[in-house]
Symmetry: C2
């Protein structure tokens, strides 16, 4: 049973749709009453919300490795310390006390639409995704790197969890359409958790389904000159095409002369088709990531079927 | 005659298209050879480029009032000090030594397209605008507040100058299409300056033209609650509609419930039609500006006619 749910905003303080939505949820407890579980809404990187920056000293959404949380000497940055505080609230990670489900609200400057980022092994996360895709077919699912044993992202502290990544939105901006869509889908996710609890309580019915998943493979950097400065930018023909097909030889970058196209080159041995996402995310210039690439797979998942007692809205 | 031209980028360090374009221009001096005037390209708020923020201590594009530049005690912030350094390079403001023409490269998260912001009295600025509109009819002209005797923006230091404002682009992002369009039009502006010098040298020919100008009238804030927090965001129907018509009663904001529309209300005595711009500019949340409003007028301007000696490209 899902008993303790957390909705968190401001893990990146300049991702303003999520911050404003979290504040709205905190001021609207009636939205979370009547469920079979408790929902707590909170702001996480409060310092970076105050400065309207992604982070103050370190990207907090890379501070939640279990080894770092458990290491008492990992306190060098404001964000490392805050991650430990948060781990005490909705963790400790990897223990039976950890929150059952965490939704962490994010925005990206990339045209991802609503992209739900989660562990490849999180069955509930994928069931929620299946429900949200049924409501809004534009919703995408991404899996964190499947070759890792642990992940450093905030929602990984919970037994289940997801990054609710929505774009495109500039830093510091609340886009009305994105805000409205996110609000609706987050509340619908809680509706599904309620249906999940109901199905658990009566042992069903469950339905077999599949979810299309974009599974992280690798990142691609911008072209750079000898001193590491940008030598090209995302090509206009690739801009905004997150989750579309990218074939070898397609325009990927535009050189700074504004005219020369730099095509996408994949390693020769790579024969499978990959799909770009996080194209031109502002925060990833410093991470040397122009876009990420995913393989696309269909993942089976068991979902709680609707019942007369609980009609999904 | 125009002898000294400056192209400046990074007055707001996170407006990355302008920063990257200025760096490209600095690395490409051949683009500025063969003209009858000298062109210097430089980065202005270097500290804020380093932190990828609009400013470090104060908005530098409000530090160029002549009274502040001339006041030796106005040195409290990094930006106030840097403004004085820059004034020594391409000023001093209001003197015969000041640069003849300054193009300051900016970006906005608002869907302004290319908007040229200038003094209402700058004849050369408007002639350049007329030329650029002939090349690209999407170019818009905005005038700074006509009721002021002086302006605090960087290009106001020159005898002529303009803010080259281009959007929508998120902070920290280089958008390929915006970059390409900006690069082309900045170089075309220099072509016009060359034609202007040639026309001055031979006393013509000049042609009478008009330029559509958006003249700043007032700013409109977001709806806010009692504690000053946002109570609404730009309505999806207004988002991206910069320089469109906004009538009394049109949707302006969406309340945080994601459903309630808050209409645009104009003072009763305001009978003229106004046009919104800078809709949802990220940096203006803290300035309590959801959008600005302009009246639209046709301004006469004298432009250098093309000649066999100098074909405008």
């Amino acid at each position: 049973m899902i008993k303790r749910v957390f909705i968190t905003g401001g893990t990146h303080g300049n991702e303003a749709c999520g911050v404003v939505l979290a504040k709205h949820f905190m001021a609207s407890p009636e939205l979370f009453s009547g469920f079979s579980f408790d929902t707590t809404v909170m702001l996480t990187n409060v310092a970076s919300i105050g400065t309207n920056t992604r982070y103050v000293e370190e990207d907090m959404n890379r501070c939640f490795f279990k080894a770092d949380l458990d290491d008492p000497t990992k306190t060098a940055t404001l964000e490392a310390r805050r991650a430990k505080e948060l781990n005490a609230v909705f963790g400790p990670k990897g223990t039976s006390a950890a929150a059952d489900f965490i939704i962490d609200l994010h925005n990206t400057t990339a045209a991802t639409g609503v992209a739900l980022m989660m562990s490849p092994t999180d069955e509930l996360g994928h069931a929620i995704a299946a429900h949200l895709i049924a409501l809004d077919p534009s919703v995408k699912v991404c899996n964190w790197n499947a070759t890792q044993a642990d992940w450093p992202m905030l929602p990984s502290v919970g037994k289940h969890g997801m990054t609710f990544e929505v774009g495109p939105v500039p830093w510091g901006v609340v886009d009305g359409a994105v805000y409205k869509q996110t609000r609706r889908l987050v509340l619908a996710a809680l509706d599904y958790v309620e249906a999940h609890n109901a199905a658990l309580a009566r042992d069903g019915p469950w339905s077999s389904s599949t979810v299309q998943v974009h599974s992280f493979v690798r990142s691609v950097d911008y072209p750079r000159d000898a001193s590491g400065e940008l030598a090209g930018v995302i090509h206009p023909q690739l801009q905004g095409r997150d989750f579309g097909r990218l074939a070898r030889g397609d325009p990927a970058f535009l050189a700074l002369d504004g005219q020369t196209t730099i095509p996408y080159t994949a390693p020769e041995e790579e024969v499978e088709e990959l799909f770009p996402f996080f194209i031109n995310e502002a925060a990833y210039y410093e991470k040397k990531t122009a876009f990420m690439l995913a393989r696309r797979i269909d993942r089976p998942v068991q979902v709680a079927k609707q019942s007369p007692q609980y009609e999904l809205s």
